[in-house]
Symmetry: C2
Subunit: 491 residues, 2 copies
Amino acid sequence: MSKVLPKRSDDYSLWYNELVKRADLAENAPVRGCMIIKPYGYSIWEKMQAVLDKMFKETGHSNAYFPLFIPKSYLSKEASHIDGFAKECAVVTHYRLKNDENGKGIIVDPEAKLDEELIVRPTSETVIWNTYKTWIQSHRDLPLLINQWANVVRWEMRTRLFLRTTEFLWQEGHTAHATKQEAIVETEQMMNVYATFAQNFMALPVHRGIKSANERFAGAEETYCIEALMQDGKALQAGTSHFLGQNFAKAFDVKFASKEGSLEYVWGTSWGVSTRLMGALIMAHSDDEGLVLPPLLAPIQVVIVPIFKTAEQLDLIEATLKPILAALKAKDISVKFDHSDKYSPGFKFAEYELKGVPLRVAIGARDIENGTVELARRDTKEKTTVPQEGLADTIEKLLQEIQENIYKKAFAYREANTFVADDYTTFKTMLDETPGFILAHWDGTPETEEKIKEETKATIRCIPLDVTSEPGICMVTGKPSAQRVLFARAY
Amino acid sequence: MSKVLPKRSDDYSLWYNELVKRADLAENAPVRGCMIIKPYGYSIWEKMQAVLDKMFKETGHSNAYFPLFIPKSYLSKEASHIDGFAKECAVVTHYRLKNDENGKGIIVDPEAKLDEELIVRPTSETVIWNTYKTWIQSHRDLPLLINQWANVVRWEMRTRLFLRTTEFLWQEGHTAHATKQEAIVETEQMMNVYATFAQNFMALPVHRGIKSANERFAGAEETYCIEALMQDGKALQAGTSHFLGQNFAKAFDVKFASKEGSLEYVWGTSWGVSTRLMGALIMAHSDDEGLVLPPLLAPIQVVIVPIFKTAEQLDLIEATLKPILAALKAKDISVKFDHSDKYSPGFKFAEYELKGVPLRVAIGARDIENGTVELARRDTKEKTTVPQEGLADTIEKLLQEIQENIYKKAFAYREANTFVADDYTTFKTMLDETPGFILAHWDGTPETEEKIKEETKATIRCIPLDVTSEPGICMVTGKPSAQRVLFARAY
């Protein structure tokens, strides 16, 4: 395998696929469309999970676990849900294998056929709302604020590591409320939690908005989302939060006795982010040398590479580093001191660059003499020589700076690649020549949206809540439009 | 639903089932044999996970994620593995549903049949060793120390919440080594990690030992285990660690170039614990009033219940508690201050008793006057009045004492219910009259073991590594026996 990554400018898609594999993030599984998340990739996902889980708990949610299998009949209880999810899913029909009598190895035992087929969950609304029916009796049981970390399966035809896989890992929040207003507040709150996570931890600027009817979750009354822009000018939906109205409550007959004693249907929400975020993180920041990770999600924040020829030199370096390592540990900065002699310093430099370690410290004989080390930032590739004295403080500040810089860079990229189109011809030219977000007027109808999608492959990413816009006229039909919406070609 | 739990002495099995439901730990899912882990139950599992995960990482393991589905053909690659696992498993045969043209709702689309059926993983050796084939080339790639937290499915006929469910949550470690000796050391290390976890966190004394050939993992050369004793005198296998020899390396052709340049098969291990540990935790310590949780795994370690009639009284109590709550928080003690006025203090006392909160603090008007609070231990049911001054220290010490006491009690129970039988008649009488562990001599053959199992339902739990024993003669056949082995009826 060649050590040189493809360049983004040559083939962005190939660059991404190769980067995911070479940086030891993930690889394709033997089962079509499934992935194996490798230890280094998984350790980034674990960091994401830890931060999100804390944010969910701080907003009052508890984790629980619901079953992997959903009886087929459950899926059809909510009318629009079935259309969105039942079509492409893994179906369990039997529960036993047996040895074939004709010596053909093992076969599915035809006698072990299930009475009702089971669906491997594509999302858990149905099985969860079926449970909420028994958990919710009174207003005292509300709000019910539950989250689940789980694997789900959607039988995708075209798959890509992290971005779209048959099986993926995610969290799905499912909440129930006494009033419509409270459910909407929850839906918006979780969109904001996702936006905060994306911006403050992933260093990823996102637009908050509402999906058009065409792009809405199957079974929701309103879908809120966060949308990010990748370096090839394509958008990526990074998280969704759905206001379910009373749809699932009605489908599964979930009522509560109000304070006044009347029986009412509850109001629901659901919200989720998945291992797709890994794809977003990789594509938003990385460069032709490899991954670029924001320090707050980097499994290794600092790598220290000693430059030595003799065991004595290494001993001296280790003695010098001892108090520095202790000071870094006290600050909860994760450090790898790579003193192995299996590989040369140059090889190590390239490897940690590929893996996106935010800060590299090199220390050799001359540094020992001078009381210095060499620092190299992954984001800007700047190298500086700094004193060993106060190094932990220097590093702590630098990591903050790197985190901020990565965000600023991504933000500047998005700003530079967000355009305004007033007519459809300009819109189409922009999509091809300067791919990015396009703010344009749309008449609000599914038909016009569908026409645009068919003709340009661009979709309405969201009706943005964070972009102020004048009313105008639809670029396609000339009908009135209340505000500009955000278009892009998307992952 | 009656608020009174069944008594253990009346119906231990019913007591367990009811306790699991009433303490909000888990309930049956609509899919046969599957469970829903409720938030309170899940929060205990999360505490277990956090401790174990830390122990795995401290011993050099990294987490990764492998796919849910295993191609059917993989299962038969390791000869004995297929017999152990393929028989009762969930089989995915189709990937699409469709609307039935005769209006019968949705049906499985016969045209969307998979070329090769997929098995929902019952354990992941096959898919993981298939991957290791590409990950391992050289001795530099070894040891490979991977763990995965995942759901698995085994189509069990008779199921019980936590103890035996069709789907369960677990971790499975899968490691590869250059030498047999190193793999055996790993296998033993992980058994010891499990034993340490069981004893120091679950407060559960366990025997460490080796399984007989009959009870060995399908595909292993040796299975190590930890075995605990429940309050009804039945044993429970709480964790297993398998030395796989080169079985999976040969089945999946996993070889490495040694330092000397020769190509050799690697040596493997696998090891796992599951949500079954929840069953062990519940059954080992709880009583007729409800759960008893060791403080180190209790989601709520201390509950504070204010006794008040007026808002002014509550204000005064809150002001008094403020510095105490801060001091407890500083010590990382998890506290719930339940000041809700929905329920009476008596109701709350019963509820937290049912849920196994280790320590209850009650504080009322008289306590405010006297500068005291009332402490009630869940384990011993002792109540004491103690000064508010230094309360956080008092509580910290008490929690340690409770943790130790729960272990001591379980240890004393096990000692009192471990017997020695020298002849088969005594053995059988003991099983019925004084159920517990029985140390007895066995001739080492699968036939004798099978005969004992058929006639008494007792199995060899393990050949204990931690019980010294003289050689003797088998209680059934009179043939020589190197040491006594541990028998019991088991879950």
